[in-house]
Symmetry: C2
Subunit: 443 residues, 2 copies
């Protein structure tokens, strides 16, 4: 039996699997302490553990079962790839709004490989449509694959491509665009398109899923239906992100692209609006606006496309013991700007001041956000904050650090002039700043 | 009138202030649109705004008032420094537990400078005791100033000093130690002491405040009373952090040092336990444990002090467009370890793999946490996560990125041996890992 057939297993577990004559991809039964587990044997690659067999249950979940000398392992059969019924797409209903789904990859556009148990980007946008026949009741959907990449591989260049691609559909007059995207960096992309697509006539809705579409626990279908409904009917014309409001399937929230963040590794309600109300809620066929301050859908508005991003912008998360030489490194390597993720109200250690001063003297734009995530920067409270302001550090109010990074990349995609960049950075373009209250107090 | 007397003001506002004959520190009245604001004029250092006068209201809050040509400004008098009545400390009650308050600085150990409106570290630990006479009913309190620094200036060297200092009191047999600390990096310090002080016989409680003690809205007194009560009476003997549970003054939560994070720039309930239950709640005189899994107070247990930290450990927050050359820079500058704040379940862009592989080949320890903050790393779900595991990246389960950084600094303070460091990093020392559930599913 070759290594590949029991990839990643070793020691006691490897011996037990060999003895049972099973290989990766087989349907197996494990009996231990009177309990029985059935599932497809999947490979391991984690170093160090030689005690667990990992199987994929019928439910789609992976489970690790500890093997002891008393554990019984049997082969039941070959791993059966669950049928992934793809009926021919339902016929279009004329008269419904037109929505384009642009697929970029990610879990929502992926399926589980039942040989390895891994999730691969494989599902086409048209598959998605087939899997969710309800969409035909909501809109006339056109499906289009732009990329097929996991979102951790998305770069600012992809943002440019996405923006141009979406703009081409908007210009063709669709009623809305949905972008299927991996959840890992979907918040960054949503922020990017919020700056790149200005003066939108129709909504642009990002959507992802935390569980792939062929798993029973998947949130893909409900998220997608909510996103398409928003693209087709929502009264706003902004860039938003549609995901579960809670861990149940009842409501989908629409978050503003500049105010949203992935806050949990696995939950369906992982995305949260930070320092702002979500934009709207989709519940069944009903879309409820959650703020009065939004840009209304208007077919006659002319989109302004500004798709350039500059990658030479850094995000530095401050922490005790941070080496300020890292600031110098960015300056010496031609970076245009640095977003600091400071502590609390917007602070960094005094031992960083010299490097920050040098950066600013060399016309590197330095801005401050908070690693607290929630709340607003206020650098006027403490002496040390005032000193940072005096050095020329720009306080970014309640803007998310991730949005600040994306915005600075966008700003330097528009101009390389320091003063103009500073002006743009401080200008509220897509609700990245929430209103300041007169009293700088608690919510 | 010198520049200093109206520091930071310019344009229209500067003229209006000059005309009114007021200077920084004066009590002034501003009348505008029929509304009146009274307070002490404080300096500005923020660049760019020449429209607002900033005054400190009697309540202690700062407020910006927009000045127009119609705005009236008058001097009412000299800024009166509010009296800060410090009664002589109440007499000690014999028989009460002994608690040492070690002051390191921060807002809880600071007072507002009424000339500049800024908060300065000035209040001594003994002042604190005077300000909160209720403490004498709770414990026999000994007060001690170790540092007087804002917490953004705290470094790993300060952690070592703190650990040794606290250990000296523990060895003298006190019933508990309270550490007054700035909130900005209090979470980092609490994690540091969780690793440095092992086998504790008594609790060590960090405490801070979001508003300084001489402001009416201060949370300093209630937090301090809660912390001293926990140090004196709590049944556990671990490092914890005491802060408001909600924005009201009724309950104080005790969070484990390794599982706590500052999550809001200004709210009193800014600290949250992440991926874990808080350790205990203080409500009036009652202390309720919120978990059954804790180390019990035991006078006879012998403290093990391991106060060394190594600063050459990096925290890299991954984002789209991250320059992998930064990984190389750390490796080439003799760093021992890198904590990645990856996306989602523990990913970084494939364009970083080569640099990570190089780092690991050169025996730099690389570990993965998630920038989601909540949830658990699972690098077995996607191909790309498995590839990172195969490279030798260590998944740190549900550990906070900040705690992972501190732990790795501590690990390399104990050993420079790669394998031993890896073993220590993966060993659960102070509840930095929460129990893994069999089903890797939602909470």
């Amino acid at each position: 039996m070759s290594q590949g057939e029991l990839q990643g297993y070793k020691g006691l577990v490897l011996n037990a699997l060999k003895k049972a004559g099973v290989k990766i991809g087989d349907l197996i039964r494990i009996t231990r302490n009177g309990e029985t587990y059935e599932g497809i044997l999947i490979p391991r690659s984690e170093l160090g553990d030689d005690e667990h067999v990992v199987i994929k249950l019928k439910s789609g979940y992976n489970i690790g079962v500890r093997v002891t000398p008393k554990t019984k392992i049997e082969r039941i059969g070959a791993g059966v790839k669950p049928s992934f019924a793809a009926p021919s797409p339902p016929s279009e209903k004329p008269g419904l709004p037109k929505v384009t789904i642009v697929s970029t990859g990610g879990t929502i556009a992926s399926r589980v490989d039942y040989r390895t148990g891994a999730v691969r980007p494989a599902l086409t946008a048209s598959d998605l449509y087939s899997v969710v026949p309800e969409l035909s009741e909501v809109a006339v959907v056109e499906a289009d694959i732009l990329f097929s990449v996991f979102s951790e591989n998305i770069t600012p260049q992809h943002w440019s491509e996405m923006a141009k691609h979406v703009a081409s559909y908007i210009k063709k007059g669709v009623d809305g665009v949905v972008i299927a995207h991996g959840t890992d960096t979907m918040g960054y992309s949503a922020a990017a398109l919020s700056f790149a697509l200005q003066n939108l006539p129709a909504p642009v809705i990002f959507v992802g899923s935390q569980r792939s579409a062929d798993r029973p626990s998947s949130d893909a279908a409900t998220n997608l239906i909510g996103a398409v409904r928003a693209a087709a009917y929502a009264p706003f014309a902004e860039v938003a992100l549609a995901m579960h409001e809670t861990i149940s399937d009842t409501t989908i929230l629409l978050h503003r692209g500049t105010k949203v963040r992935k806050c949990h590794t696995s939950r369906r309600d992982t995305f949260k609006s930070i320092n702002a109300s979500p934009l709207a809620r989709v519940e069944g066929e009903k879309i409820t606006m959650l703020t009065e301050n939004y840009i209304k859908r208007d077919k006659n508005r002319k989109l302004i496309l500004k798709p350039e991003f500059e990658e030479k912008v850094a995000l530095i998360k401050f922490h005790p013991g941070l080496n300020p030489a890292i600031i110098d490194w960015y300056v010496d390597n031609g970076y245009y700007g640095i977003v600091l993720e400071g502590t609390g109200l917007g602070h960094v250690g005094r031992y960083c001041f010299k490097s920050l001063e040098r950066a600013i003297k060399k016309d590197v734009l330095v801005a401050m956000t908070s690693q607290c995530i929630w709340g607003r920067i206020n650098m006027n409270v403490y002496d040390q904050g005032r000193d940072l302001l005096a050095l020329g550090v720009i306080p970014l109010e309640d803007m998310l650090p991730e949005t600040a990074l994306v915005k600075m990349m966008w700003v330097f995609g528009q101009t390389k002039d320091f003063q103009e960049a500073k002006r743009l950075l401080k200008t509220n373009i897509a609700h990245e700043f929430s209103d300041r209250t007169l009293y700088e107090e608690l919510p």
